[in-house]
Symmetry: D2
Amino acid sequence: MSNTQVTLIQIDNYGPWTVTPEPRREADLQTLQSRLYADLAQLFGDREGYTFFARFDNMIAVSNGIDMAGHARIQESIRNRYPVTLSLSVATGETPATALSTASAQLQAAGSAQDARRQEILKGSPLSASDRRDDDVQIAHFDVNDATGKYTDELDAFATFIRIEQSYLELMRYLHDEHESLAFFVGGDNMIAVGADLDHDDYTRAVQHVDEVADVDLKVGVGAGETAQSAGMAAKHALETCRRNGTTVEGPIPVPQSD
Amino acid sequence: MSNTQVTLIQIDNYGPWTVTPEPRREADLQTLQSRLYADLAQLFGDREGYTFFARFDNMIAVSNGIDMAGHARIQESIRNRYPVTLSLSVATGETPATALSTASAQLQAAGSAQDARRQEILKGSPLSASDRRDDDVQIAHFDVNDATGKYTDELDAFATFIRIEQSYLELMRYLHDEHESLAFFVGGDNMIAVGADLDHDDYTRAVQHVDEVADVDLKVGVGAGETAQSAGMAAKHALETCRRNGTTVEGPIPVPQSD
Amino acid sequence: MSNTQVTLIQIDNYGPWTVTPEPRREADLQTLQSRLYADLAQLFGDREGYTFFARFDNMIAVSNGIDMAGHARIQESIRNRYPVTLSLSVATGETPATALSTASAQLQAAGSAQDARRQEILKGSPLSASDRRDDDVQIAHFDVNDATGKYTDELDAFATFIRIEQSYLELMRYLHDEHESLAFFVGGDNMIAVGADLDHDDYTRAVQHVDEVADVDLKVGVGAGETAQSAGMAAKHALETCRRNGTTVEGPIPVPQSD
Amino acid sequence: MSNTQVTLIQIDNYGPWTVTPEPRREADLQTLQSRLYADLAQLFGDREGYTFFARFDNMIAVSNGIDMAGHARIQESIRNRYPVTLSLSVATGETPATALSTASAQLQAAGSAQDARRQEILKGSPLSASDRRDDDVQIAHFDVNDATGKYTDELDAFATFIRIEQSYLELMRYLHDEHESLAFFVGGDNMIAVGADLDHDDYTRAVQHVDEVADVDLKVGVGAGETAQSAGMAAKHALETCRRNGTTVEGPIPVPQSD
């Protein structure tokens, strides 16, 4: 049974800030957002978490193993270096989707995302050490079969981009609606899902669904671990096995038992 | 008549690099990609261009006003500071889509995106100074009506994210298929399109289409200019007018004539 | 008795890289160096360490509490994101200077800093958990009395800069020669020393020495702790006490005993 | 006759900010400062300028060719992305030192560096296009002879660091007092001076002075140009000639005449 800890990361009152007193240059906003995300990827990643950019003003981290002091430190580091601040809401659940729902509700209860007085909320409760197990997190790493040969080197760049976006939208909806799981586009032809204990057949069906609806062939490696980093690295190795063996789904890889 | 100059930016042989000799940590890859994008946003932005992250390994810039020496300087700056290199392909066209098609074909002719020997391609031809006019670029800046009130503060974060992604996919496909224009998600509830001389009614129909198919209400400000930056800033001001007046489409704003 | 753990950080074969195949643009080298340092400040800082830029190609961290796995992770993160790699050498000693001597000798034994085959050395041994105590690190935070009023707002910027540099050189030499301690300029009018158990009178004499030789008035707050971060934050608070009370030396502050 | 345009860059009210409401973590301040410098190195460098970190809260750029609009754009970009703002003061003069004195006086006249109400000053006048010539800037690039063999690979890291600092202090004082020129340490064993039309013998004597007083052997390549970038790149090539030929001073290289 998975036990995902999720952190919802929201830039405080960001929309109004981007147009006050006048609309700010887009190049600067893009730089600000992507560097802020890069720093969060490092700050959570250094603590074995995965961070997804999602909408950039609302980001999502898988934060198993990171306590509230760690979250407070991340919040402080951003406050000390950026012109904006962050609110963080932490929750756990048997599925990633329910965890994120709880995290969302906690933050909404504290006030609107565009309320200038709602700043640096830090709410929620992380998994206690005694509740953590070495398969709490399931990560599935997808990519598109021969994306370079079939798309990047053949179609024009925007046609390829549309195909990738379409396949991502189908995957994110399917995994969310059928399996309460959260899928994210992470660049190139890669998508990473935080899964709710899906098995091999579940992933086979997900890949088939995307093929039928969006006509894009995916493959996927699946791993589990105590943290996003260990589960994700197992998933990456499983995906390399797909590539070597020509298989579509590898994993979930059982976690090696320590005793 | 628009005259968009587009630059296709491709990280050389990136996919293989991410798994050689072993898969690299996802947190580091995310940091690398988003900082590389942030630097390109500044390097093109400093020269009045707009850069879109798209798939991160294939990015797209609107580069009117930037000559080949400027592109070579951008390529050099990245080579000097990153473990990866970039190929750049520059093209123009009466529509953004045809410009990008030409840029794509030029790069594909130079070799595969995953050919280790194809490095730092720099191809294409920018607009000559004599062909430039002060309405060469049309930028449309969209956002979602009351996204915070209707979605961010109400739905859970992933449900909101799916809605935004869905509306973006519909908008990108519609503008591409109907108008040879290129739309990009830029964070929050914002999408920016590089347009091929669409008029007020064209934008009204695009907004209606997204409303019908994805049930998301957009509004849009449209501007034109000699560069992406001047067109984009006019679009931002037009969008503020929408917000103040409760209108759905403002613009295209005619370019002020200098004499 | 202090027990400082020091990490010598050296960019591998950096000099030759900066001029191969041709001299690289200075603006890019400056950006590369200062961002690499910024990332190390975060990576060590996130683990309660302090990092000093020193010569930028040879940096020095106070790394009490960071084990070899942590160092390896820092090395990996830089390798994944920069065009250069790092060698790290870790050592401990009763004085910071002897620790750094040991770290230097370990790295020199592995080959020359400009040997292209000597890459990513990781050597040394951190303090074992059982040897750590809550006053292992002594940090002294100096600044110049009324630097803004007496210098920045009065002299021209370079004359001020010469004064600050001169006072720093005197401080670094005095503390190194008399007390086997390591002082670093950290920006503005601030200098931070990693001390070898100096007492209140030692710091008073150090301040007097700088006043006599360089005619610059310093004040200093001194703290101790299990890590650079805890010692350094105590030192900052002590320096604020100097500012409030008009005193020249505050501390060393005894560490609160946990039992 | 040189004609250096200098920009004094000052972080507004920075000292008080670093301790308000409580002292901020040193790791975050170091990251903030060095990234801010890295961005300025790019923003000025992209416009052919050189930027020196100096005290980090007071930085100095050689900005020939950058007009007030360019300076305003740099100021805006930082304001949009950092929690601090910058004041910029631009001046020219026959010697770099007199230019910087003028720039300092202009900024001091606008208020104290620690006055919270003095924000984003932008003052001064750049060289008019008609006054610019292709040898306005003289750059001298110094390094230490065999620094790796004699110091880095032999002495402990701090002893080497003291030697480099000492040689830098002597060089900066000598060039400032004797030649109204500005020398900066730029990392490794490199120092860059912005010169006031020194000739070959002047540089020979400067090198001799440092050898006598600090017992450190320097060599230097000197270039001239319309901008810091062109002068600096000529200087780097001249320094490579020193390295190849075993000479101590190469240059000043006369600027190639365009007709």
